[in-house]
C-alpha cells in the first residue's frame, strides 16, 4: 500500500520535472512557429484552469470567463494604443479592469447555481462582447486595438515564451496550493452538495464570490499574457466560443484536475493550428474527438490515464480523482 502510493507520487514528480525540462528546452528544439503555439497553449491552459477552478472544483460551470480575460486585455490595449501610457500604467489598468469585471460578475452570479449560473455567466460574457463592439473610442469596435507592444525586455518570441512559462508555472503552483487548502476542500463540498454545506454553517454565497474572484484573477492574468502575445485585441476574443473553448479544454483534459485543462489546451491549440495545415476538415476532427472523449472517457484524458494507472499499475492506491464526477452528475457537464 505504502509502496504503491510512493510510486504514484514518484511518477507524478518525475512527470512534472520532465514537463518543466521540456518546457525550458523547447526553444532549442522547435521553430518560432511552434514556440508561438506553445505560448498560446500555455496561456489557453491558464485560462482553462481558471474555468476549471470554478467548474471542476466548485461545480460552477461558467460560459463567461472570456469576458473577464478580455476586460483585462482591453484595459492593457486601451492604455497602450489609445492613451500611449507606459508599461506600469498598462498593467495596472489591465489588472483593475479584469478584477473589477470579476468582482462585479461574481456579485451578480453568486446567488445562482447549476443551469442558472451558466446562464448568468453567459449573459455576462455577452455584455462584455456587446460593449467591445459598441464602445468604438475605447475598443476600436470590430477593428480592435493595434499598436500594443510587448515590453522591450521580453520582446523576442522566445523570451516572451519563457516569461509566459514562468508566469503559468507560478500560477499553477498557486492554484495547487489553493485547491489543497481548506478553501479548496470547501469548494469540493460546494460541488458535492451546496445545501449540506449551508447546513454545516458555511456561507456558500460568500464562498462562491471568493472562488469567482480568485478564478477571475487567473483569467485576468491569461488575458494580459494573451494581449502581449498577439499585440492585438478585438471582439473575437470575447465571443461565446472563446469562453466555450476554455470549458471544452477543461473537459477534454479532465475536469477537477489542474493538469487536465493544460493538456486540453495543448491538444486544441495544436489541432487548430498544426493539424489544420494537413486536414481541411479539422473542425470535424475536433468534433469526433469530443464525442469520443465524452462517451468513453468522461473524466477526460487525465481521468482515463489515472483510471488505467490505478486499475492496472498501482492497484490498491486510492484514486483521488474517483470522487470528482462519481459523486453526482454535475449539471451542465
Amino acid at each position: 500500500m505504502v509502496r504503491s502510493l510512493s510510486t504514484t507520487a514518484l511518477v507524478k514528480i518525475g512527470l512534472a520535472v520532465l514537463g518543466i525540462a521540456f518546457g525550458v528546452a523547447a526553444p532549442y528544439l522547435f521553430s518560432s512557429f511552434v514556440i508561438g503555439l506553445f505560448s498560446l497553449a500555455l496561456i489557453g491552459g491558464l485560462f482553462a484552469q481558471s474555468i476549471d477552478l470554478l467548474a471542476g472544483y466548485a461545480g460552477l460551470v461558467t460560459l463567461g470567463q472570456a469576458g473577464i480575460s478580455a476586460s483585462a486585455a482591453y484595459g492593457v490595449g486601451y492604455m497602450a494604443s489609445r492613451v500611449g501610457a507606459g508599461l506600469p500604467a498598462q498593467l495596472a489598468v489591465g489588472l483593475i479592469a479584469g478584477m473589477t469585471a470579476a468582482l462585479v460578475f461574481g456579485v451578480m452570479a453568486m446567488r445562482s447555481d447549476g443551469v442558472y449560473f451558466i446562464m448568468v455567466t453567459l449573459a455576462q460574457g455577452m455584455i462584455v462582447w456587446g460593449l467591445s463592439i459598441r464602445l468604438f473610442r475605447i475598443t476600436g469596435a470590430e477593428n480592435g486595438l493595434t499598436g500594443i507592444d510587448r515590453p522591450a525586455m521580453i520582446d523576442a518570441y522566445w523570451k516572451y515564451y519563457y516569461f509566459t512559462l514562468l508566469v503559468v508555472v507560478a500560477c499553477w503552483m498557486l492554484l495547487g496550493i489553493i485547491v489543497h487548502s481548506p478553501l479548496g476542500v470547501s469548494l469540493k463540498g460546494l460541488r458535492e452538495s451546496e445545501t449540506r454545506m449551508r447546513m454545516l454553517g458555511y456561507n456558500t454565497t460568500a464562498l462562491k464570490l471568493y472562488v469567482f474572484v480568485i478564478a477571475g484573477f487567473f483569467a485576468t492574468l491569461s488575458g494580459i499574457l494573451l494581449v502581449y502575445l498577439n499585440e492585438f485585441i478585438s471582439p473575437s476574443a470575447v465571443v461565446l466560443a472563446a469562453s466555450a473553448i476554455g470549458v471544452l479544454e477543461a473537459i477534454l483534459g479532465g475536469v477537477g484536475t489542474l493538469v487536465g485543462p493544460m493538456i486540453g489546451a495543448f491538444v486544441i491549440v495544436f489541432v487548430q493550428n498544426v493539424v489544420s495545415i494537413y486536414v481541411a476538415r479539422w473542425p470535424t476532427l475536433m468534433g469526433i474527438v469530443f464525442v469520443l472523449v465524452v462517451l468513453f472517457a468522461r473524466r477526460g484524458i487525465v481521468g482515463a490515464i489515472s483510471d488505467v494507472w490505478y486499475r492496472r499499475i498501482a492497484p490498491g492506491a486510492a484514486d483521488p480523482l474517483s470522487t470528482v464526477i462519481a459523486g453526482r452528475d454535475t449539471p451542465g457537464l
Binding site: E142, N230, S236, N273, R281, T284
Partner: protein
C-alpha cells in the same frame, strides 16, 4: 448499455463524416495545386532556409517566390473565404507559375476568421515557409491584426484585397501594406450618396449593421448625400446587431419614416432575411432601396428569390455583369470552374494575383528589395476584372465605381449590370485627401450629416 453507447458513437461519427463530405469543395487539400512541389511536409522543416532543389530551373531566381494566403475556409465565413481561395487559384491555373524565370509557389491557410489563429499562421508562413508576399484576410479585424504584426518586417509585402477597413490606407497606413485589388468601405458608398442626390431624392433613411464596416458604409453614403443637398435625420438611421435574423421590426419602422429612399447595408444571412421581410410587409416597389456593395453582391443575392431583388440598385467597384472583355473573361472562367458567378471576393484575389504577376515581371524576377517592389507595384496601371486600376499614394486603388442594377440573366441567374459609371474614384472622393483626413473615421456617432 455498452452496446447502446457504441451505437451512439457510430452514428455520431458517421453523421459527422457525412456532414463533412457533403460540403462543397472545401475537401481538397489546403496546399495549392498549382505549386509544383510545395507539400505541406516541406514546411514543417524547422531549418530557416530550406532551399528547394528544383528552383534552379529559372534564370532569375535561386529560390521560388512564395506567396502565403490567409482566408477563413471554415466557420461562418467559409463560403466567402472559399470564393476568395478559388479566385486566387483560378488565376494561377490560367497563367503560368513561371514568371520572369522565377517559379511561383503559394500556400493557402485557413484562419477560421479568428485573429489568434491568423497571427500564428502568418508567423508560420513568414518564418517557416519563407513567404515573400502575404495576402490578407476577409475580416477587417483580422486584416488589421496581420498588418500590425507585419509592419516591422521589411522582407514581406502585405496585400489585403478584401478587408476594407478605411483607416488601413487612411489615418494609420502601414509602410509595407498595399491594397492592390482591394477597396475601402466608404469608397463605393460615397458615389451612391452622390447618385441618390442626383436622382432628386430629398430625404433618405439608412439601415445598416451595427459594426465598423456598417458605420463606414453608411457614413460614406450619408455624408455625400447630405452634402449634395439631401437630408438624413439621425433618428431615421437604424442599426441592427451583426447576425440578427428577424428584421421585421426594422422594416416596419423604415416604412413608417416614409423616406424617398433607404440605404441598406446588411451582411451574411441578414441579407435574405431583409429582402424577405421587405417583400412580406408589402413595401417592395414603394420605397426605393439603395444597397451597399456587399448586400447586393452575387454571393448574397444568389440565394434570394429572384422577384425580391430584381432591379435592386447598388454601387460597387465590382460588377460581374459589366460588359467588358476583362470582366467577362474572368466571369466565364470562374463560372466554368465552380458553376457560380464570381463574387467580389473571388475577383479581389484574382486581381491581387494579377498584380503580383505583373510586378514580378516588371522587376525581372528579383523581388528581394521589397521597398522597390512595392514602389513598382504602386506604379502599375492594370486592366483588371474590376476595370482599370491604379493605386494612390496610400496604396489604395483608384477605380471606376459603378452604379449597379440586379438583372436576371437568360439562364435565370441574377447578376449586377452597370447602369452608370463614375470614373477614377479614389478613397476620398469627392473631397481632397487633406480635407477628408481632417475628419474622424465614420462611426455611429460620426456619419457626416452635420446637425442631423
Amino acid at each position: 448499455m455498452t452496446r447502446i453507447r457504441r451505437a451512439i458513437v457510430l452514428v455520431s461519427v458517421l453523421a459527422l463524416v457525412l456532414a463533412a463530405c457533403a460540403a462543397p469543395d472545401a475537401e481538397e487539400d489546403t496546399t495549392s495545386t498549382a505549386a509544383p512541389s510545395t507539400t505541406a511536409a516541406d514546411s514543417s522543416d524547422t531549418t530557416e532556409s530550406s532551399a528547394t532543389t528544383e528552383a534552379t530551373t529559372g534564370t532569375g531566381c535561386d529560390e521560388p517566390i512564395r506567396i502565403g494566403v490567409l482566408q477563413p475556409l471554415t466557420g461562418g465565413l467559409a463560403a466567402s473565404g472559399t470564393d476568395a481561395k478559388n479566385g486566387f487559384e483560378l488565376y494561377w491555373q490560367n497563367h503560368s507559375t513561371e514568371v520572369a524565370g522565377c517559379t511561383i509557389e503559394f500556400r493557402i491557410e485557413d484562419t477560421g476568421g479568428n485573429p489568434d489563429t491568423a497571427l500564428q499562421k502568418v508567423d508560420e508562413l513568414v518564418g517557416n515557409y519563407g513567404a515573400d508576399i502575404i495576402i490578407g484576410e476577409l475580416l477587417a479585424n483580422v486584416t488589421l491584426a496581420l498588418a500590425d504584426r507585419l509592419k516591422d518586417n521589411p522582407d514581406v509585402i502585405f496585400m489585403a484585397p478584401i478587408g476594407s477597413a478605411d483607416d488601413l490606407t487612411q489615418r494609420t497606413p502601414y509602410p509595407n501594406f498595399i491594397r492592390a485589388g482591394g477597396w475601402t468601405s466608404s469608397q463605393t458608398s460615397h458615389v451612391l450618396g452622390s447618385w441618390a442626390a442626383d436622382q432628386g431624392y430629398e430625404r433618405a433613411a439608412t439601415f445598416c449593421t451595427d459594426y465598423a464596416f456598417g458605420w463606414e458604409m453608411c457614413g460614406g453614403f450619408t455624408q455625400v448625400f447630405t452634402e449634395e443637398g439631401g437630408t438624413v435625420v439621425s433618428g431615421e438611421q437604424l442599426w441592427n446587431p451583426l447576425g440578427s435574423t428577424d428584421l421585421g421590426t426594422y422594416v416596419t419602422q423604415l416604412s413608417g419614416f416614409a423616406p424617398d429612399a433607404v440605404f441598406v447595408l446588411q451582411v451574411g444571412a441578414s441579407v435574405s432575411d431583409f429582402f424577405q421581410n421587405w417583400s412580406d410587409f408589402g413595401i417592395s416597389g414603394q420605397i426605393p432601396i439603395l444597397a451597399g456593395e456587399v448586400t447586393a453582391d452575387v454571393s448574397n443575392i444568389r440565394n434570394v428569390p429572384v422577384d425580391q431583388v430584381e432591379g435592386l440598385i447598388s454601387s460597387g467597384h465590382w460588377a460581374e455583369g459589366r460588359d467588358a472583355p476583362e470582366t467577362q473573361e474572368f466571369v466565364e472562367l470562374f463560372d466554368a470552374a465552380t458553376g457560380l458567378l464570381p463574387s467580389y471576393y473571388a475577383a479581389a484575389t484574382w486581381t491581387a494575383a494579377q498584380y503580383i504577376d505583373a510586378t514580378i515581371q516588371a522587376m525581372g524576377g528579383d523581388i528581394s528589395d521589397k521597398a522597390a517592389t512595392l514602389e513598382t507595384m504602386r506604379g502599375l496601371e492594370l486592366l483588371t476584372p474590376f476595370g482599370p486600376s491604379v493605386l494612390d499614394e496610400f496604396g489604395n486603388p483608384i477605380y471606376d465605381i459603378y452604379i449597379r442594377q440586379v438583372v436576371v440573366r437568360d439562364d435565370g441567374r441574377v447578376w449586377n449590370e452597370v447602369i452608370d459609371t463614375y470614373e477614377n474614384v479614389d478613397q476620398f472622393w469627392p473631397k481632397s485627401a487633406d480635407e477628408y483626413l481632417a475628419q474622424p473615421v465614420y462611426t455611429r456617432e460620426f456619419q457626416g450629416n452635420a446637425g442631423g
